[in-house]
Amino acid sequence: MDLIIRNGRIVDGTGLPAYQGDIGIRDGRIVSVGGRIPGTAAEEIDAAGRVVAPGFIDPHTHFDVQLLWDGQARPALEHGITTVVPGNCSLSLAPLKVEHRPRLVGMFQQIEEMPDAAFDGAFEWTWESFADYLTALRSKLAVNVAPLAGHSVIRLWVMGDAANERAANADEIAGMQELLRQCLEAGAVGLSTSFVDVDERLQPVPSRYAHAEEIDALAAVLGEYGRMLQVVPEFYATDITLARVDQLAELSLAHQIPTTFSPLFDSAANPDNISRVMARVEQQMARGARVWPQVQTRPIDISFTFEVASLLFAGTPGWYRTMRLPRDEKIAALRDPERLARLLEEAEPGGNTDRFRNMRVRAVARREDDILVGRSLGDIAAERDSTPARVMVDIALANDLDASFVATDLGHNDPARVGALLAHPMVHIGASDGGAHIQSFATYGDTGYLFSRFVRERHDLTLEAAVKKITADTARIWGIAGRGLLQPGFAADITVFDPDVIDRGDEVVAHDMPEAGMRYVRGSRGIDTVVVNGAVAWSAAAGGYTEARQGQVVTR
């Protein structure tokens, strides 16, 4: 044996009760599960008092770019994530012609809030095809990657600028089909598309110009391979989401493919949303369609500063445009009484201060403003006889824009409702958005939060059920073969953790992006060891990340 994990409480991913035993690993694969393994191995881990589970699989990430300079997908790996699915929401780094790179960068920056530096010099663009992109990735990986091909970039490849203008003709649809086929042959696990996203010019992304005929033709290609169709629906509108469920069901039945839509949120503002959508999902699943709603575990919190154009400003175009100005121009605009008056009217129309009233000051640069940290803008406004939006601008300017704010009441924060949803057998736990929105919130640690909040604290799921949801179920839903279970012959992707401690850490600011770029991250708690294809990739005892690079591109 290369590695034996001894004395662990084995939660094997099937959902069956945990049991005590050893796990033996050779050549990257599990060769023995349960029982006492005789002899010794080159490396042994004592997992007494710990859970030994299959490595977690995150089905909705945007690690596409980060993986090129960080094959560990930090900090996902330290949370026990051993396989990530990038390429969601119609965006992937391939297939992509050289001349379309600026367009893709713009879309990534807009939709996923990836900064310039993430693309500028942090890696070398060496590919156009999907196969060559995977080649560029392979040597760097510490985690496994199950990549999606993005509909918007496929459309861009075939149609050029017209991808953002019109319907595709028959030849173009055939071209997209062939290109998708090449992606799937190279190792793509499916196609992603978006019905809601906009690019950096605030124009619809190419996938939104696709008519039903085009989507059906691409789904037909997915059917040749039995591969996944991932979509971003109009999650904020129940009737439209219901229509998307029906559309996906028809595609699933017609082409015998799995489909998934993400996200599905709970919200006090729309309390019937979950029940109505899940009722429709149940009906469609009963017909034999595969329509998996992805639900995230964490509540929706968004932090923002005036340094970048947060998605929080997407609903107020004037603010959004202002936040995108160069720094000096932005400050000048905020100091200009007339322009500020227009912004304030947009933020607080007719004196309605609902938009910013409950947001809180998160951090400030000026020591004299420390007393504001943690307080709501509404409280501060009342004290100053001002308005929430105005005090937010005042604080930002007083701190030379180096002040951050946080919105913590944006939804998906009723633990009883979210817990019941996560436990639903037809809910696919995912939608973490790992690696995206890095300057608005931390998209890491959702699995730790699942165990701490919904298993340990609330008992909405058993330990075994929660593990199954994020391992075997995910692998089965996505057709990822040979992973997600602790079973002889399966890849040795294993997470060892303390069930009494596992959690997500606090959200903190890190400057670990290229050129010391900022992002919000969360470390893990209670994770002992993470094994990827038989190699220890993260170990608390060894001080964290190791040099192991045994990650693979997960292909058919």
Partner: protein, 70 residues
Amino acid sequence: MELSRARSFTTARPGEEWADIARRTLADQDPGQAVEALQSWNLHLFLRQPRGRILGCDVIFTEPPLTDAG
């Protein structure tokens, strides 16, 4: 399993505008009133910028929201 009744919708065919969709889906109504009805049931499209632009993937409802009675 039989599906419960859901709010009916369509998607645009290439080149179709509001009037075309109204003609196709609300053929028994006065054309002008049909367009107005269609737009009123699809404010998420009609009110966006540029106003009324229909994209290929858009869900276009062909009836008002269902009541609890269906």
